[in-house]
Symmetry: C2
Subunit: 192 residues, 2 copies
Amino acid sequence: MFEFFAQYLVEKGELTQIELELIRQAAVSKKVRKNHYLLEEGKVSNFIGFVANGCFRLFRKGEDGQEYTMKFAIENWWISDFTSFMSGEPSNCYIEALENSELIWFSREIWDHLLATIPNFKRMIDSLTAKNFEANQNRIFSNISEPAEVRYDNFVNKYPTLYNRIPLYMIASFLGITRETLSRIRKQAAKK
Amino acid sequence: MFEFFAQYLVEKGELTQIELELIRQAAVSKKVRKNHYLLEEGKVSNFIGFVANGCFRLFRKGEDGQEYTMKFAIENWWISDFTSFMSGEPSNCYIEALENSELIWFSREIWDHLLATIPNFKRMIDSLTAKNFEANQNRIFSNISEPAEVRYDNFVNKYPTLYNRIPLYMIASFLGITRETLSRIRKQAAKK
DNA sequence: TCCCTTTATTGATAATTGTCACATTCCATT
DNA sequence: AATGGAATGTGACAATTATCAATAAAGGGA
């Protein structure tokens, strides 16, 4: 299980064997069963998880009671409510396992310690944080500038391994449209 | 001019006089005239600016050639294309002065040096970065979960000093609607 | 396999938003 | 104060999307 993560660390972060060993000792394996929650609204997101296996979604509940998907995470992605993690304030998000999943799990204390003691790890995470920021910017731009059909096309192209693994109504809420509209967009697209 | 910035640093970052002096020496004052650009698409955002005076907008051009406002910045706000700043890649954004404005301007080299040598400054910036991340999350959530009228109301409540200082069509593009729709939303709201 | 729950599709209709054309208002400059 | 350009408002209509209701399809236990 950890080996999968170790491979990621070597590829992405160019970590040495010694550094890997430090992380291995700090890491906790965690299984989350389908439909169970890793985080619920009101609780502080005191962890960061690396998805070794399975699939998660992070969502918020709107004024209308509906669930709005903020992000998905599959293998090789990191999952947490980073806002709550950074602020230490209670989260307004839920993190739900969409499949039986396995995580490499780090508490806040351990995470901070790893960042402070392993420069290569910190470099890797800083780089990911920058990418994450960029992705958020792009998503905002997409939301304000592109019609729903284009947003869906881009989603499919960007996450080819996601769109046939996740219920469509979650993708719809991620894109900011209703499931019915997504259904019709797909029907249109199929004609072409 | 710098005094305005110094006050901000003391309030937000609790910087000492010695630290202030280091920053003062590193800072460059810069004036940007109304309608002039601080950054244009294709160029690297090699700076971070603190708005001492005036107003800026950061926007991207859509496929349709339209300008979509990604953010505004007035006094006490920071302005840069952080995506390009962090990656070193050419920006896809423009930063335009909406008024005659004054900046405290830091080159990337100086910025990195300040962060590395002044822990209080780094702490302050890290905190702002976290807030910025949170704001982006909230904006995404707003875009996918709230109707235009609510988004506009929230905008007005959140940025009371902004909405009567900036052309409405820029606010419309920030919210992801056309100016005509915003005009009608405002008309509706006025009735209540 | 069958049944039940969840998910997806579809139709009809309403609400929202966009587009285009034009009128009006607001400002900055002379 | 006059003028021209930018910004905003408005009306008519089209396109998009939401809502509601019902059906169909898919998937997961017992």
